[in-house]
Symmetry: C2
Subunit: 465 residues, 2 copies
Amino acid sequence: MQSVIDHLQQNEDSALEELFEFLSIQSVSADSAFQPEMQRCAEFVQQAMQRAGLSAEIIPTPGHPVVLGQRIEDPELPTVLIYGHYDVQPPDPLELWTSPPFEPVIRDGRIFARGATDDKGQLFTHLKSIQAWIETEGRLPVNVKFLVEGEEEVGSDNLDNYLESNREALAADVGVISDTSQYGDGIPAITYGLRGIIAAEVRLTGPSKDLHSGVYGGSISNPVNALAAMCGALIDSEGRIQIPGFYDGVSELSEREQSEFARLPFSEDDFLSETGSTATFGETGFSTLQRRWARPTCDINGIVGGYTGEGPKTIVPSKAMAKITCRLVPGQDPEQILNALQQFLQARVPPGIQMEFLRFHGCPAFGLDPDSPWMGAAGEAMQDAFGQPPVFIREGGSIPVVSSFQQILGIDTLLLGWGRNTDNLHSPDEHFHVCDFHNGTRASALLWQKLADLRKQASARTAEG
Amino acid sequence: MQSVIDHLQQNEDSALEELFEFLSIQSVSADSAFQPEMQRCAEFVQQAMQRAGLSAEIIPTPGHPVVLGQRIEDPELPTVLIYGHYDVQPPDPLELWTSPPFEPVIRDGRIFARGATDDKGQLFTHLKSIQAWIETEGRLPVNVKFLVEGEEEVGSDNLDNYLESNREALAADVGVISDTSQYGDGIPAITYGLRGIIAAEVRLTGPSKDLHSGVYGGSISNPVNALAAMCGALIDSEGRIQIPGFYDGVSELSEREQSEFARLPFSEDDFLSETGSTATFGETGFSTLQRRWARPTCDINGIVGGYTGEGPKTIVPSKAMAKITCRLVPGQDPEQILNALQQFLQARVPPGIQMEFLRFHGCPAFGLDPDSPWMGAAGEAMQDAFGQPPVFIREGGSIPVVSSFQQILGIDTLLLGWGRNTDNLHSPDEHFHVCDFHNGTRASALLWQKLADLRKQASARTAEG
């Protein structure tokens, strides 16, 4: 084991160099203009897997391809299904980046690039730990299947189909994903709960063209006014979402969770400076951590309509559009919430306006038992690598594949976060601390051994019993 | 007089050719990128005035320059102050134009170009009628001052200062403006009332950068949600504007006006096909003409915030912006309405959001006595040129200069519309009927004689008396 750790340390520079090559590929899945870069990125992942000692293939889907690497050492060993995604969020607004998003650089001990933490940098730790095992020991202590998709940032639309069609090929004992965060600087975390999500786009059309607001104003419904009224009614001044039935069945936090949340170090001042906000705001009666991890939301992610250039323009616009996502918590059904949102909006469409409602991906919230043995093994590996035991937390984001692993493949997933909430994921100047990259790689290498030990202990107990 | 009319007919083609040159200049005042074109357009107007027989100068302002042409024949003759504007609305969305907005063409008897009717084509009729008088008679029957500005589409911010500083140089007996419309096809109109306007832009800033909606959603005010709620509260489901005090002092229509409005030919079906709408909608209890001409409005002209590209993006946006205009009717004070709008919005800003409120131009509504002798003279000129008497109407748009002429120069203004409401002004495929251009030019030539006759009749009455 020590030789693996030593090998990792000796090869830190070349690992970073290889990661930089990965980060320089503009793999933006949301925008079809980046299609050739997506293909190039999949090929990079395949070759990196092969360099690490895995067999690897690119599997086409109706969208962006999946890359699957694997190495089966021995059917008696536990099999780990690692997941990551090579696609990244769109980099705009570009003018807010200190250095270009696809030209990775290290400043202040951090790697700056789109995808540095979400998820290229984090998934790369597992690839490097596998490579270190094979290059030093000639083998892995576990069997590995490594699945890297290209559609996580646009809803993983084709992943479930792929999982369903390849249940046997993907069969595993446990999932491992590093696409979450540490709880705080130097406080590693294992995430046992995630919020779900629904996403939609609402498009309104009023008059067939922009009209003069003097000649026609007041006599024709204005789709921007209508959209504002429709979307503006979604949340009241107490932060409560007004969609009928929205909170039906929502699981409240247990007393134990409430007290554990309250024990976690949390500074409202740090939170404000991290977000660049002057005040927190949310549903009345809940703390900031509760609002982020355990309460559902309704955010308008974007809105546009009419004239948005310089100066005034006196028109009644023809069209307006808004993108809406709701974060869900255990007890909420994505399909029901999407339907309720659509009905809520449709009921507010004024005469003369046509509404179109586009549904994007969705997934339910996710929860895992913090007392499972997998959790224990992961906790030990992280403690050894980071120098202190991880905390068990929930997170506000959604990783749809976690639900899919549970529902389709029947496995639990270890969510091991090497990054930090302050890494500007989805924002300009996204970054990943160099030390987190190396600690994460080390924790990953240790984890394969701990998972193998778990199986040995279980076998020993069986032999004794 | 007949020689003037004949001259106009003989020179129709060259007049159109010259107008096309005018329309090909991209004089978009709202966008500073078009600055050089604005200067080029002012020079074109100066040269066209000189060709017509006026002395002409370009007068700089802190914004776009004013062009002033004049010809004083005899201090005893009445003096007419003609007004027009050489600036045009932004042409976007460009993809909805059948032919490029600054490459004028004639299709189906119409001139298609941005500014064809608003206002280059209409103001050009007066220039051509003046030229015909001077080229055939060697003189005009009235004194003429011809003022053409470049900031009408962005609020004429510098015009009032110019008028106030040049009261004597601009002294006149009556104003003439062709920047309104006929009532319907072949029903020429004199407009005796206009709505006023206020215009503002509201900008919200929440977090200092776009945030991950999973990590932060629910705990920080979302500026797009906030803007939707603020703007969505402006109008209720009955079309009533909710700004406190908004309707205070609003002049109701007289019984005579109500019955005259009701007598005007108006087809709801034609109106719907003209606007490309499936239904009319507005303040409960008023007809479509009343809503357009005599009731105040509150339209959001544009809104933008967050991610508006393809696919979903799961962010809490940092910023949101909306542009708002209110059309005003007699009895409403622009400054008071702007203040009330700002207060209405400010009161709805949630914690953690900063609001910035930008004020653009504004002007009060305008009304004139339909029984004045100027109106009579204009009515006769239009009847002779168009072959039928004009109707006396109000219009929903705003022409701030009309209030300024009244308040600063102390003169009434004749609003003589040659264009049509269906000319797509402010929209893609703006156009101007070729026959309206020629009829307007003829009516203008006749008007100068009728205004001169009015003075002679008054003098004769004085001599008799």
